[in-house]
């Protein structure tokens, strides 16, 4: 699998390819260990800590950072920001790959992954928020696949099928926003059932709202962050429109992200007020909470605003990366760092190197698939046959 991706162009042995090859090799070895020896051999999971970074990072962070797909397509098709149309395809592609590999990563974490479809076939455990998440992720993955399908269909030259897929754009976008609202918020609602385990500063009845609102921030920031990386790596693949409009997108999305961050900051404060947890802010966990609140919500909100006012694209792009880091920290806080905070240090969880290895492996696979697709299909440019067509 890896060889097929790495080979192709003139120089195969670029530094990136060598690192990618090593990561993939490591990933395959850990995969073999995980599936032959069990979860115990590859993870530090315990009876006290049933969820580690394969849930905290691969699932929670993965889904949040894949929000760019629904955010961008909603902005363009529903809110009518047509000048950002060029950004829809790369955003939908990352969304699709993000969700696809969330599902792949889930196979590592589940005890019996071959039963992944049991909730819908055997169980119907409808009282579980995980059922809601599973159903929505399954449906949304399908929606993303359909939303993305025009690109491979153009690549392969199936004009009629492509026409059908394009006609669905509007209704698929609405479906995508509905499903994303539901499962982004439900991922937060997963923790509502454990008020005695999650630190009170992070536990709140508003958790679903926090997760949904922060997914919009993650989506906006991720589109800008990816745009920056893509410009470095695939500049030659971009068409005139992509190159000329991406600065305007950075300004527009930066402004939107600043606004949503301001709202997010407000509701997070209200969360503390609603629980009357002010006194906890001076404890060590409270300091860490303030680091998240000030360093990764208030600060990027301000930096985005300054960047937009000064038209400082470099600052906005840096802030996008910083905000993405903030989302990672937030999701890990809720699932790992502030979870089981009441337990003594000896019963706490720290990831096994193989767990980190698989997470890196999954991220690498996403990058490799992205590169494979972007270098072949009309993602960063419009296919000449369909140029100027309204979607």
């Amino acid at each position: 699998m890896s060889g097929e991706i790495i080979t192709g162009k003139k120089t195969v042995m670029t530094p990136f390819n060598v690192i990618a090859g090593m990561v993939v090799l490591m990933g395959l070895i850990i995969t073999a260990i995980r599936f032959t020896k069990g979860l115990g051999a590859a993870t530090n999971l315990s009876d006290y800590n049933p969820w580690g970074i394969w849930i905290g990072f691969d699932l929670l962070v993965g889904v949040a950072l894949a929000a760019g797909g629904y955010v961008t397509s909603a902005a363009v098709y529903i809110f009518g920001m047509k000048k950002y149309h060029f950004a829809v395809r790369p955003a939908v592609l990352t969304g699709f790959l993000g969700y696809l590999f969330v599902v792949v990563a889930l196979h590592y974490d589940l005890g019996r992954p071959w039963r992944l479809a049991y909730p819908f076939i055997v169980g119907w455990g409808t009282t579980s928020l995980l059922f809601e998440v599973g159903l929505c992720v399954a449906l949304y993955l399908t929606v993303l696949f359909l939303e993305f399908s025009p690109a491979p269909l153009e690549w392969l030259g199936f004009k009629k099928t492509r026409y059908l897929a394009v006609r669905l754009t509007m209704v698929l976008t609405i479906f995508g926003v509905v499903l994303s609202t539901l499962h982004q918020s439900s991922l937060g609602a997963l923790f509502l059932i454990a008020p005695s385990k999650l630190h009170p500063l992070w536990y709140s009845p508003y958790l679903p709202v926090f997760f949904f609102v922060s997914s919009i921030i993650a989506g906006l920031s991720m589109v800008m962050f990816e745009g920056m990386l893509s410009h470095r790596a695939f500049h030659d693949k971009m068409d005139e429109e992509h190159l000329s409009e991406s600065d305007s997108l950075t300004l527009g999305f930066g402004k939107a992200a600043s606004l949503v961050l301001a709202g997010y900051f407000t509701i997070k404060i209200i969360g503390v007020a609603a629980g009357n947890h002010w006194n906890l802010l001076t404890t060590p966990y409270g300091i860490w909470f303030l680091v998240e609140m000030i360093g990764f919500i208030a600060l990027p909100c301000f930096l985005y605003a300054v960047g937009v006012r000064d038209k400082n694209l470099m600052l906005i792009r840096f802030t996008a990366a910083w905000t993405v880091l903030g989302i990672v920290i937030n999701r890990l806080n809720i699932s790992v760092i502030a979870f089981n905070w009441h337990l003594p240090a000896s019963d706490r969880y720290f990831p096994h190197w193989m767990e980190i290895g698989i997470s890196v492996f999954i991220v690498m696979l996403i990058i490799l698939f992205y590169r494979f697709i972007v270098t072949r299909m009309p993602i960063l440019y419009e296919h000449p046959d369909y140029k100027g067509e309204e979607q």
Binding site: L39, Y77, D109, L110, R115, L129, T181, A189, I193
Partner: protein, 343 residues
């Protein structure tokens, strides 16, 4: 709230559709679920426990669990802070009081068989069932291994077979459900030499517990642990020392797992129902705005054209007028000339 609800039901009744709603009103309010009638439970009187570990031994044999690491007669493990594992459905821990003169306290730990189990509420394949008899049972044949039940359990009871690559299961006490089904009592209760464990109907156990507290107010803390904790549990506890001193959390609250999540769940269908309406509305407004902008633009162009036309017509008219006047003048001049010539 009660009045408005009764009113509401009244309106429905007046409309003559109450029959079609189905369920009797008694089953439609959260506060009215009181659990299965005659459901069984166990009362653990911690003041009577001597830490002999015979319950652990009996549990191990009846449930055919793997050999323990040390013999059940080994009393040294009591001092370790142990929890339930894949090898032990139940463990007994020793708690030394800070006050050295007091005797150590022993507490048995196992699944509390909640009346509204958080594990069952969290399970997306319905692997957990609250049976009418009282036990919360687990079905490994449908379990996917997501371990959300372990996240949800406020008592940290379920354990997982992490070292099993193909058939890992969640492991927890079954309250000897098959034995109860057959009219027997759970294994641990049956061997307890000091009657620290009492099996019976939960409501009877509650009166026994209250009676013990009433008769020996100095011996007991005035609280039956499990009566309301997390919506109530089938296992109930009496203690002579505050519960938090013997590792039992007193900050769990009385809300059950299903209550904690039902609010978020109830929002889901509202979003499904209304988001498409809202989004389509926004889309419609966007389109209308675009169309208006287009029409306005068109209108502006037409007006400009018309204005331009109007001006040119004026010019032409003026030119024609000018010419006409010019001609007239010339004719008049010619006429005058003529007249002059005639004179």
């Amino acid at each position: 709230m009660g009045i408005s609800r009764r009113k509401f039901l009244g309106w429905i009744g007046a409309a003559g559709i109450s029959a079609s709603i189905g369920k009797p009103a008694g089953a439609s309010s959260i506060s009215q679920f009181s659990g299965f009638p005659d459901s069984k439970g166990v009362l653990h009187d911690i003041t009577r426990c001597v830490g002999c570990r015979s319950c652990e031994d009996s549990c191990n044999k009846i449930n055919e669990l793997p050999e323990p690491d040390t013999l059940f007669s080994d009393q040294t493990v009591l001092a370790k802070n142990r929890r339930t594992t894949t090898k032990a459905f139940t463990v007994v821990n020793q708690y030394i009081s800070k006050n050295a003169s007091e005797k150590p306290v022993f507490r048995k730990i196992q699944c509390n068989h909640c009346l509204e189990p958080a594990c069952a509420s969290a399970c997306f394949v319905r692997a957990f069932t609250k049976t009418p008899n009282g036990p919360v049972t687990y079905d490994p044949d449908v379990c996917v291994g997501c371990r959300y039940c372990m996240i949800a359990c406020p008592f940290d009871i379920p354990a997982y077979e992490y070292d099993e690559p193909l058939t890992p299961r969640v492991v927890k006490c079954t309250m000897c459900a098959p034995r109860i089904e057959a009219g027997e009592i759970p294994g641990c209760v049956s061997v307890c030499p000091t009657e620290a464990l009492t099996f019976g109907k939960r409501k009877n156990l509650l009166s026994i517990a209250r009676e013990r507290i009433r008769n020996n107010p100095d011996r007991y803390i005035d609280h039956v642990y499990g009566e309301y904790e997390m919506g109530g549990t089938s296992w109930l506890y009496l203690s002579g020392v505050p519960f938090h001193e013997i590792g039992m959390r007193e900050d769990l609250g009385i809300k059950s797992g299903p209550e904690l999540t039902s609010g978020a769940l109830s929002i889901v269908p509202m979003i499904v129902g209304l988001w498409p309406v809202l989004l389509t509305g926004i889309y419609g407004m966007t389109k209308r705005k675009e169309k208006n902008a287009f029409i306005e633009q068109e209108g502006a162009v037409a007006a400009a054209v018309e204005r331009a036309n109007h001006e040119s017509i004026k010019k032409i008219a003026a030119a024609i007028e000018k010419e006409r006047l010019g001609k007239k003048k010339a004719m008049e001049a010619a006429e005058k000339e003529k007249e002059k010539g005639i004179k």
